[in-house]
């Protein structure tokens, strides 16, 4: 029997929404297989990994803490991905946003002002946007590939962080540890639920999702970005300048990543440390696609990805599994998603060379 792939007439809407769910299901099944190979009971492992972390309020709070940067960055990136601008350097923009936002906190150390936090927010957004403006400028001016430039700038950003944290930003009374001072209260995000780490950043993420949703569904900007991604010539025909779209989407995604960085240092971390993010900027790429580049979808996919971080920690502590398990899961999820997305445009056919089911082909068992 022959298996063939046949292009669909148009994209299947059902598959667009179904494919992330199928990918999650397959990831679950294959992770059980991997647990079994590692010699642990799959059921217990899956429970520890996926259910255990969210059996308490503190667990949920922690989930939202981890989801905050993922959702913020994921939504920001969705602007670029919809317009075929590939910002892979959100991790670097996050780092710079943390430095500018957090830097302000250190600069005004012990200054008690209600304006400090808003200023830090602006500085964080600004820092990330500036870092993304470099690939934007290079692309618009010299037609360089933003995938490469934005990615390379991640390492530049991390070196800057490394320099600053060992030099100018190092805490004066910190025994030469490469860490900044702990931020004072006026520079810390307020917590939403006492006794947990859940902070106001989650509200910012949800707020950003609402704005993005309005832009996408109603506003001409969302329309233009979509057109630019789907049909660049049609965008030009409708008076949209490609360069403007490039600037816009890179500044939005950079600003969102910068904000996420500022929120990390001003929320859960509370100071500037050598490693600010466990790869949120890269994971957010998966988050954006898993959420179908849709703000609401990204909220859910961000929470799911946050769960893999929590699950990884739990598996490490309770089952002595290596932390790499988290990366394995995220990778599997992305690959299954890419595989299932193939069926948005193609359908699978078995056997007979018939395109429309009729008497003969149904005898040969065509599967639709």
């Amino acid at each position: 029997m022959k298996i063939r792939f046949e292009p669909r007439q148009s994209e299947s809407r059902t598959v667009v929404f179904l494919s992330p769910l199928v990918a999650v299901l397959f990831t679950g099944l294959f992770s059980m297989l991997i647990f079994a190979i590692l010699g642990v009971d799959p059921i217990t492992a899956v429970y520890t990994f996926f259910i255990g972390p969210v059996t308490s309020i503190a667990g949920w709070a922690e989930l939202f803490v981890k989801a905050t940067p993922l959702v913020l960055i994921g939504i920001g990136l969705s602007f670029g991905f919809r317009s075929n601008i590939w910002n892979i350097g959100a991790e670097g923009q996050l780092t710079i946003g943390a430095l500018t936002g957090g830097g302000l906190a250190l600069l005004f150390y012990n200054v008690d002002s209600v304006f400090l936090l808003p200023a830090m927010i602006i500085a964080g957004i600004f820092g990330g946007a500036i870092w993304a403006a470099i690939p934007a400028f290079l692309r618009v001016r010299f037609n360089t590939n933003e995938i490469l430039t934005s990615l390379m700038l991640v390492y530049v950003a991390q070196l800057i962080l490394s320099y600053l944290i060992q030099g100018p930003m190092r805490a004066p009374d910190g025994y030469n540890f490469p860490e900044s001072r702990l931020f004072h209260d006026a520079a810390l995000l307020p917590t939403l639920i006492s006794e947990t780490r859940l902070h106001a950043g989650w509200i910012a993420a949800l707020f950003f999702a609402v704005i993005a949703w309005i832009l996408w569904s109603r506003h001409i900007i969302g329309f233009q970005v979509k057109v630019a991604g789907d049909a660049p010539l049609a965008a030009r025909f409708s008076g949209v300048r490609e360069k403007n779209v490039t600037w816009l989407v890179l500044l939005i995604s950079g600003g969102a990543a910068g904000l996420a960085g500022m929120i990390e240092v001003s929320g859960p971390i509370g100071q500037i440390v050598p490693i600010i993010s466990p790869g949120y900027g890269f994971t957010a790429i998966i988050v954006a696609f898993l959420g179908r580049l849709h703000p609401i979808g990204i909220i859910f996919s961000g929470m799911l990805m946050a769960l893999t971080y929590l699950g990884g920690d739990a598996a490490q502590i309770e089952m002595k599994l290596p932390n790499a398990v988290t990366g394995v899961f995220q990778g599997m999820l992305l690959f299954f998603l890419l595989a299932t997305d193939f069926f948005v445009r193609y359908r699978i056919r078995f056997g007979a060379l018939r395109e429309t089911p009729d008497k003969e082909s149904s005898k040969k068992g065509v599967v639709g």
Binding site: E6, R8, Q9, S10, E11, R218, H219, I220, I221, F223, K226, V227, D230, A231, L233, A234, R236, F237, S238, G239, L353, R354, E355, T356
Partner: protein, 514 residues
């Protein structure tokens, strides 16, 4: 040779594609030495049928006979061995290789080794296809490139030659040369299956015509016994409406002026525009003829503002200079544009029709209010377009990619025309559009000029231009000839201009062919 024997016979060929039946129980036969036309609108199933004959793809059912023996051809190389040659509409040539090298790539190894260039010269002399084997392809005209494809087929001694719309890229003179060659081949007993939708050509050239519609053979006829009109009716199955034009039109003041447009093309193999001057008056349709790739796309881009006008160039709309306005600002002062590519340029494939109205009508029809897209107004305008221009579609939520070429083009024309433009500029208005929709579109262009508008039509379809234009200019290698009133210029003269001969040189023509 027995005359009664058929060269090729098809019995009940059926081929399904998802959602459509491309060929539905097609029967036809081609006699030796016959030039057999396969006539039909776009999407009638002609291409599917010949691709089956040439072994590009299989059929779901049906039988094929080659000289009275049943055969099965599973790939093009088998077809060539059998004696079937095909010249595709789009050439497969390498620009950086010579004629000989290109031919060697496409034929069997025995043929390609030893004295190939002599064989090329011999074949090309024998059939009136002058070709220099050592020339590089990029130096050749489109007509010459086609000769390479024809010679490549002939070297393999085919007994059936399939030609897919061979004249769409040729000047009238080149067409005449090609026809001479085809007639000579036919005299030698080679059958030719000639695919076209150009009726006059079929009357001039073909012995027999098989007419297809919606995948079925609807009629067979002798083109000599038919008029172009009667064949058009068979092809479309309904009364053919040819556009009505007003006689004795009077034109108003100059509406659109182009002065000294120079523009370096930013396309990879584009053509630079050079010193283009043109005036169009209110109420006038001006046509620009020319072979594809002579600066048409570049001209439209400059006019629509998608690409800035080069140094010194000026575009005037009435008395108003619009040279430095961007696309949307030009729309605001009354210009409208229809690009060549429907899907991807004139419309976004994966967007609904109502969203596609926003593409060009966002500001002129107030579809965007304070930055927000008004779905209600857009849908209303979209419904208006669908109704007025008779677009066959389930409704405004249908994706643009789901519409047939003709319907989408009607939609795009409706969208532009219902914005009441003062100047409408269109490129290839009926390219790949079924004849019914094409007629409607042409009529709408003529109607528009009655509302004080000026229309510029850039097209490769000469028949179309002669039908609707008041004056015709020709673009060749980015240079535009003066515009001549249609009754003061002949098809032959237009053909010469298309081939790059200036009008003042017409008398000494004939010396440049070697």
């Amino acid at each position: 040779m027995q005359v009664t024997r058929t060269r090729l016979k098809l019995e009940n060929i059926t081929k399904h594609y998802p959602g459509i039946i491309a060929n539905d129980s097609v029967n036809m036969s081609v006699l030796p030495g016959e030039i057999h036309a396969l006539l039909g609108e776009n999407g009638a199933g002609k291409s599917t049928l010949v691709k089956f004959i040439y072994g590009v793809h299989g059929a779901d059912s049906g039988r094929m006979f080659w000289e009275d023996k049943e055969i099965q051809i599973s790939n093009p190389s088998e077809a060539r061995k059998t004696g079937i040659g095909m010249v595709f509409q789009h050439f497969s040539l390498f620009d950086a290789l010579t004629v000989e090298e290109n031919i060697a790539i496409g034929i069997s190894q025995e043929l390609a080794t030893g004295g190939l260039s002599d064989k090329i010269i011999q074949v090309s002399n024998q059939y009136g296809l002058p070709l220099d084997p050592s020339r590089y392809v990029y130096t050749l005209s489109v007509g010459e490139r086609q000769r390479i494809e024809v010679v490549r087929c002939l070297l393999q001694n085919p007994r059936l030659l399939i030609m897919d719309e061979p004249t769409s890229v040729l000047t009238p003179q080149e067409v005449e040369e090609l026809f001479k060659t085809l007639r000579r081949l036919s005299d030698e007993g080679i059958s030719i299956l000639y695919i076209s939708h150009k009726l006059q050509e079929i009357k001039d050239l073909c012995h027999k015509a098989t007419i297809m519609r919606n995948g079925k053979v609807v009629s067979e006829c002798n083109p000599d016994d038919e008029t172009t009109r009667s064949m058009a009716e068979m092809m479309m199955g309904k009364d053919f409406i040819s556009p009505e034009r007003r006689e004795n039109k009077s034109f108003g003041s100059t509406k659109l002026s182009l002065r000294n447009i120079n523009r370096v093309s930013h396309h990879q193999h584009g053509v630079d525009l050079a010193n283009i001057d043109l005036d169009i008056k209110t109420g006038e349709v001006v046509g620009i003829a020319g072979i594809a790739g002579n600066g048409q796309t570049e001209l439209l881009e400059v006019l629509s503002g998608e690409v800035p006008v080069g140094d010194e160039g000026i575009i005037l709309l009435g008395d108003r200079e619009v040279t430095n306005l961007n696309t949307n600002d030009r729309r605001k002062v009354g210009m409208a544009f229809v690009p060549e590519e429907r899907l991807g340029h004139g419309a976004v494939p994966n967007m609904s029709l109502w969203e596609n109205t926003v593409l060009s009508a966002a500001y002129s029809m107030d579809l965007v209010i304070r930055g927000f897209v008004s779905k209600v107004s857009s849908i209303a305008f979209c419904k208006h377009v669908i109704k007025k221009f008779n677009v066959h579609t389930p409704g405004p939520n249908t994706f643009a990619s789901a519409l047939s070429g003709g319907n989408l083009q009607k939609f795009i024309f409706g969208r532009e025309i219902l914005q009441n433009p003062k100047v409408l500029i269109v490129l290839q208005p009926t390219w790949g559009v079924d004849a019914g929709s094409a007629a409607r579109i042409r009529q709408s262009l003529i109607d528009l000029t009655e509302n004080e508008a000026a229309v510029l039509v850039i097209s490769q379809d000469l028949e179309e231009l002669l039908e609707i234009s008041d004056r015709i200019a020709v673009i060749h290698e980015g240079k535009l000839s003066p515009a001549y009133p249609v009754n003061e210029i002949t098809i032959e003269e237009i053909g010469l201009l298309m081939g790059g001969v200036k009008k003042s040189e017409f008398s000494i023509r004939g010396t440049d062919e070697n």
